[in-house]
């Protein structure tokens, strides 16, 4: 009972957050300066009629929402407009149908562009996160266990330094080093590989993935190490650890059966909260390594003033982070009996 209420609450909350992001996403692009149509369709050769035609095509001729013709500059419009015929409603309706508009730059549907990119980002972030968490947890564990020894101080300094590295700069440095050592300098696969057998292609992708994943891992492992260290230090000074020792359990048994799971609990929460930050890493790393993911899509869209893509990519990233957060919450409720039992 309690558990279901908890789960329902979490799911409901995630839904509400997504709704908030949808609305934020819509209004951001209308409130801030730069009418998309004028910014995107800036070709001076176009005639006024042609621009108008494009505005119609992108739905920019309709009022933003009831009572507002446009939001920047604020132009009060009629409140009697059919609410179904406003940009906001059309935006929501299109989204529900899986439509995010058409790219100003390539004239392709934004959904198609992003769908290709999404999996590349998940592949990169997934590999990087898993490695960072694994390394962080293991080293953090050692640091806590051997607290106040040189192992501990070494791990601490390494993680503080890793934390301080700007992601993109580390990427650049590694790229500089890698390009001098025969590693691919960007992209996800070597051109002309599509006809090769699967294993060869996978190997090629792995070679391309090496540097971006390494960057990712280095930057994020420091933080996980610090968290694991302090979390395990807390757990190891709890009374139940002393009880376990008093029972005659060996050091290893105490660590394995009593400390690790308890210490992982706060880590799960932090990983969830961190997912938002990890997307910042994706934008930077994909830009440096030309990795064709959502982050690069954002970078390109910004430089090309391709607002539909920017809008779509931001929405997708936000939703992905919210959903991952939800998963982490659900995982936490599974791991900690205090959440799911009455």
């Amino acid at each position: 009972m309690k558990r279901w209420r908890y789960l329902l609450g979490k799911i409901g909350w995630a839904f509400f957050t997504i709704l908030f992001v949808l609305i934020l996403n819509f209004f951001l692009f209308r409130v801030l300066p730069g009418d998309p149509a004028r910014a995107g369709v800036h070709d001076p050769r176009l005639k006024k009629e042609a621009i108008e035609a494009i505005r119609v095509r992108f739905g920019l001729d309709k009022p933003v929402i009831n009572c507002f013709e446009s939001l920047n500059p604020i132009k009060i419009g009629s409140c009697d407009v059919n609410p179904l015929d406003t940009q906001f409603f059309i935006y929501v309706k299109n989204l529900l149908q899986g439509e995010m508009g058409i790219s100003y730059h390539s004239n392709r549907p934004v959904v198609d562009i992003l769908a290709e990119r999404l999996w590349n980002t998940i592949l990169l972030i997934g590999a990087g996160q898993i490695l960072a968490i694994l390394i962080g947890v293991v080293f953090g564990m050692f640091a806590a266990w051997k607290a106040r020894t040189s192992i501990d101080y070494g791990a601490l300094i390494i993680s503080l330094v890793a934390w301080s590295l700007p992601t993109f700069w580390l990427g650049i440095i590694l790229l500089f080093w890698g390009s001098n050592n025969g590693l691919p300098i960007g992209g996800m696969q070597t051109p002309g590989m599509s006809s090769q057998p699967f294993l060869v292609r996978a190997g090629d992708i792995a070679r391309h993935m090496f540097l971006p994943t390494l960057t990712y891992t280095i930057v994020y492992m420091g933080e996980y190490m610090l968290i694991m260290r302090s979390s395990l230090l807390d757990v190891l000074s709890e009374d139940y650890i002393l009880t376990a020792k008093a029972k005659g359990l060996s050091m290893f048994q105490v660590l394995k059966d009593h400390a690790l799971k308890n210490a992982m609990l706060p880590l799960v929460t932090v990983i969830a909260i961190n997912l938002g930050f990890t997307m910042a890493g994706a934008v930077q790393i994909e830009t440096v390594f030309s990795w064709p993911g959502l982050g690069l899509a954002i970078y390109e869209a910004v430089n090309r003033r391709d607002f539909p893509v920017l809008q779509g990519a931001f929405l997708l990233i936000a939703i992905a982070v919210i959903l991952s957060n939800l998963i982490a919450d659900l995982m936490y409720s599974y791991l900690d009996p205090r959440v799911h039992t009455d």
């Binding site: 730069g34 700007p166 009880t243 005659g248 050091m251 105490v254 205090r338």
Partner: protein, 650 residues
């Protein structure tokens, strides 16, 4: 665990000098501070330090571009033929300005929101924190990118505002939870009780305790702001007129530094960012350790080797062996056990000194003393479970024919629980919250009897729970689902899991209500009779001891004050401390007795008096007591006291 008793310390100096005195010892913090001071110095005096004027226009020849380091350009030139070193120095200015101002905005918003939400609670809190939760999951850099991209011309001011206005979420969360924690503390309730209003409470009671955490967080926020600014600039969203380190990297990376091999143009600005951010991080880490100190010790740290005849600083006085004669065989014999806590920069704290006692089969011994008298240390020492700073410095612990201090760690593990088990005070914390109670009991059984499994194991767990009056279906439940009394019963069941000969009960009823306390005591007493257990009962409650125990060891300041059978202790005590303690204890059977108190306070274990440890509070103390520590004198076959007054004149 090091229960040093506080007492008036020297008069405090100013808070700032206090802070600096502690911070000075933190190497990481000092290094960080040094890194910050240098970079701030560079930024402030950029015009003096920089070899060139960055704003000077000059013609650029293609031969000026990406020149390697030389005498004229110490770290080469960039894509526009400009001196990288000059740009680097002026870049420090931009980065620091953005970092500090943006962080100021973030910390201000986050701090105000956090305090308001935490302090006022209710609907305000709900709305604010829900909003913070939403902002926290929205990935901030992509949002910053979107916003900056949508503003037409990114200026430094815009960037400061965007970073500042989006960076407050973690601050708000941290400040809120700290405010909540402070608000629930009793001194805030006390402030309300004296009539203080919200403004007064926030100013005088909440802010001073939130400030340390806010300061540490602010340092982190500054470093995040600097990282965010450089990322935005690198992505081409910076102010093109303000050459920050991110902007330098943007130009170098986008304009062929990589392919020309101009590493200096790529490495230099990054080093600047790392320098500042690492400086801030180290400084923040140091601040954190000073402002929110925590003992970085835990129960799995390597125990100190047992080194005997050391660290006590003076020759040991061996008293006659103390024995309470009776027919039953002896189970435990502790002989002149001494335990010290070794801390840095301080003399060792002699927490337990020369304590001896014997425990016979079926005996219930009471170990009595006030907080900090070393009774818990003594018990942990028996099981060799002392915290990392604790060290057995002398004495022997005989358990049957085994001398426990001579065992290896592995051998000691086998003795624990199977030979001697322990019930700790506060069962809530002594049980692992994420494992079921039955599982934790079974674990102890399996450790010492690996052959027991499946049905037999289940049956044994049920039997144990039944023995302490818990219905066996509760074994699948977690500790938080038990009430306080049940948890303590479960701990007792666990202690009996391996049929130990001796159970140490360390204040097992202290946190419990009187009626539940009576239930637990009755349970212990009946188990003792049923199972023939020997029990060492650690407590400060003289009444409980009188009702249950056979023999009593009274400890004061780490030494034995008096040791005898229960009747002698309560009716013909010879040590002044025992006598005074009994006078101070309320007795319902003598309602007309006036309660006495012992003036003063127990000694600090790291600052013990030269003579008898009780002398400063003793009503009967004379000159010798302040100079010479009394030996333990045997007064009768079963009565020992350490006091000069009981010494037999030869």
């Amino acid at each position: 665990m090091t229960d040093l008793v506080t007492s008036p310390a020297p008069l405090p100096t100013s808070r700032l000098t206090d802070f600096w005195r502690v911070f000075r010892r933190n190497k990481m913090g000092l290094v960080g501070l040094f890194m910050l001071i240098t970079i701030v110095f560079v930024a402030v005096f950029a015009h003096v330090i920089a070899p060139y004027d960055p704003s000077a226009t000059h013609d650029v020849a293609s031969s000026d571009i990406y020149n390697p380091p030389s005498a004229a350009h110490w770290i080469g030139t960039d894509d526009a033929g400009q001196d990288v070193f000059t740009n680097f120095i002026f870049g420090a200015r931009v980065s620091l300005i953005v970092g500090f101002f943006a962080a100021f905005i973030s910390v201000f918003i986050g701090g105000v929101l956090g305090i308001v939400a935490g302090f006022f609670g209710g609907r305000v809190e709900n709305i604010l924190m829900r909003f913070t939760d939403i902002m926290l999951v929205i990935p901030d850099l992509p949002l910053m990118v979107v916003i900056v991209a949508l503003t037409k011309k990114p200026s430094l001011l815009n960037i400061i505002f965007v970073i500042g206005l989006l960076g407050w979420t973690t601050t708000a969360r941290i400040v809120r939870s700290q405010t909540l924690a402070v608000k629930s503390r009793k001194f805030v309730l006390r402030a309300r009780a004296i009539g203080a209003g919200n403004r007064h409470i926030i100013r005088h009671h909440i802010l001073p305790l939130v400030m340390p955490i806010l300061v540490v967080n602010a340092v982190l926020v500054v470093s995040l702001a600097i990282l965010n600014e450089s990322t935005l600039a690198f992505l081409g969203l910076g102010d093109p007129t303000a050459i920050s380190w991110g902007q330098m990297l943007n130009y170098a990376f986008g304009r062929g530094a990589m392919s020309t091999g101009a590493w200096w143009a790529l490495v230099t600005p990054g080093v600047g960012i790392v320098w500042v951010v690492l400086g801030l991080t180290l400084f923040g880490h140091g601040l954190e350790q000073v402002l929110n100190p925590r003992l970085e010790t835990h129960h799995l740290m390597r125990p100190r080797p047992i080194v005997k005849h050391e660290a006590t600083g003076k020759p040991l006085r061996h008293a006659t062996r103390q024995r309470v004669p009776s027919e039953a065989p002896i189970l435990i014999e502790v002989d002149n056990l001494s335990i010290s806590y070794l801390t840095e920069n301080k003399p060792p704290a002699r927490a337990v000194e020369n304590v001896s006692f014997t425990l016979r089969e079926g005996e219930l011994m009471g170990l009595v003393g006030e907080s900090g008298c070393g009774k818990t240390t003594l018990m942990l020492g028996l099981l060799r479970l002392l915290p990392a700073a604790g060290q057995i410095v002398d004495g022997e612990v005989w358990f049957g024919d085994t001398e426990l201090t001579a065992l290896t760690d592995d051998e000691m593990e086998a003795v624990r629980w199977k030979g001697i088990s322990i019930v700790f005070q506060g069962a809530m914390n002594a049980l692992n919250p994420v494992r079921t109670v039955g599982d934790q009991i079974a674990e102890a059984i399996v450790k010492h009897n690996p052959l027991m499994k499946g049905k037999a194991l289940e049956a044994r767990v049920s039997e144990l729970l039944d023995l302490v009056g818990i219905s066996p279906e509760h074994k699948k439940h977690f500790p938080h689902q038990y009430s306080g009394g049940m948890r303590q019963r479960a701990m007792i069941a666990m202690a009996l899991a391996c049929n130990p000969k001796v159970v140490i009960a360390d204040e097992p009823t202290t946190a419990l209500d009187v009626m539940i306390q009576a239930q637990v005591l009755e349970l212990l007493d009946s188990l003792r009779k049923k199972l023939g257990l020997s029990i060492i009962f650690v407590t400060h409650d003289l009444g409980v001891v009188a009702e249950m125990c056979d023999s009593v060891l009274v400890m004061y300041g780490g030494v034995t004050a008096e040791y005898s059978d229960v009747d002698t202790i309560y009716n013909t005590a010879r040590h002044p401390y025992t006598q005074e303690l009994l006078k101070a204890f309320p007795d319902l059977s003598q309602p007309d007795k006036r309660l006495a108190s012992i003036p003063g306070y127990p000694p600090r274990l790291d600052d013990l008096p030269a003579g008898c440890r009780f002398a400063p509070r003793c009503p009967l103390a004379f000159e010798r007591c302040h100079i010479e520590q009394p030996e333990i004198h045997q007064l009768s076959e079963r009565h020992f006291a350490s006091c000069h007054l009981v010494e037999k004149r030869v």
